[in-house]
Subunit: 248 residues, 2 copies
């Protein structure tokens, strides 16, 4: 498939193409494609822009990560396809490990995602969730998601779970972890449950997160989190959705 660069939807078409390729390479699942479509629609309602409420949440996320003892970024098929470079750069630079944690554990899928991330230069010591001997079960999370890495999510105090389902987010909260999510639907259970909800397209978030991580000091982070109110952020994002195309 050849997509001309001047096509008005070129970026979106490229993303779809990469995701479909990811399905054929056992990285993505079919349900991941449907979920991506939901995200596209919400992003359309946000006029495909990063809004002020998302920037504020990204700064809070960077603050939380800077202050964390054991931060971790959870990786699924969609994020592995959409933002591998971004995740790998942040992991390597800021020593924040990535953990592969999947809803659908198809044969060979973890391995496929692992190899995919390593081709982008990830430090192998910063990749968890792909060594059977390190698996441990968390009762607070249902299904196969409860299998986590004893060096990663298991001991983490701050967990970034982008594009996540509600059950898992609630499970992580029950374990008293600080949960940061990226979710384009401000009313999803994940958005409502997380401590910090970035309502924005994941493809725009991580480069901004990286900038904040580079700049923020521990003192600034503490100060910023004192004032941060996720409920206000969620309200602002809902208001934005309701203003959708208001010139009409």
């Amino acid at each position: 498939m050849v997509i001309p660069d001047n096509h008005p939807r070129a970026k979106s078409l490229h993303e779809r193409h990469k995701l479909i390729e990811g399905l054929h390479n056992n990285i993505l699942t079919e349900a991941g494609l449907i979920a991506h479509g939901r995200g596209e629609a919400f992003d359309y309602l946000l006029h495909e822009q990063t809004h002020r409420f998302a920037e504020k949440a990204i700064k809070a996320a960077a603050s939380q990560l800077i202050l964390a003892k054991h931060p971790i970024i959870s990786v699924n098929g969609n994020t592995a396809i959409l933002i591998p470079e971004d995740m790998v750069r942040i992991a390597n630079k800021h020593k924040i490990p990535l953990e592969i944690n999947l809803f659908y554990r198809k044969e060979g899928r973890v391995e496929a995602i692992k190899n995919h991330l390593l081709t982008f230069g990830l430090d192998p010591n910063l990749l968890f969730g792909c060594d059977n001997s390190q698996y441990i079960e968390i009762q607070e999370i249902s299904h196969l998601r409860r299998i986590v890495d004893r060096r990663g999510i298991s001991i983490a105090d701050v967990v970034v779970v982008p594009l996540e389902d509600g059950d898992r987010t609630q499970g992580l909260k029950k374990l008293n972890k600080k949960v940061i999510t990226v979710d384009l639907n401000p009313l999803s259970r994940t958005s409502q449950t997380a401590d910090i909800t970035i309502v924005d397209n994941i493809t725009r978030v991580f480069t901004l997160l990286e900038k904040e991580l580079d700049l923020i000091t521990r003192d600034e982070a503490l100060e910023y989190l004192k004032k941060y109110d996720n409920q206000v952020i969620l309200q602002e994002s809902l208001r934005q959705i309701r203003q959708f195309n208001e010139k009409n």
Copy 2:
């Protein structure tokens, strides 16, 4: 996959499951799964309900179909999976033929959709778009979509094109056909171009359309269409989306 009937999202999960099965049976494409996700998100914004503006558009659609000399319903992978019973019932009862018309003409796909529709009892004389000897090209439509059936879309005066892309809708308009669409995004090119835009979930539309077709007379249809204004309908649907979850 077993989905408990009391699951709050059972209907939605069943639909996803059927679509994924459709992908494996060569009826759906991967892009069709992503498109379904977009629809899910817009339906969520409509609180998954048929609103008054959709009912009005459905009545207009029934009116247009009752008055048509050569009506036709265009079928793609998603509609074949989501509403085969509904389409077959309307086709058989009201002698409105179905025409298979695909964006992605993968090997064997037309045949797979044909067989799928026939298992639901479709009168084979009412199925077009699957006999090579009847194909004809329309210059107004780009790519492979321009291949239509000389007994169907080619001579049709009223075309129902649910879940359609903008190029094709515009092409059909250039050919001076009356275009009826079902599209959950009131700002899509298809929605904006069609003569009648039903902003609703396709799985709710066709049973309502059937009721209208059963009831409406030609005189009533003529009268109704005189007053019908699709721009007003589109405005009303946009307003509804903007009221999304306004209790918050």
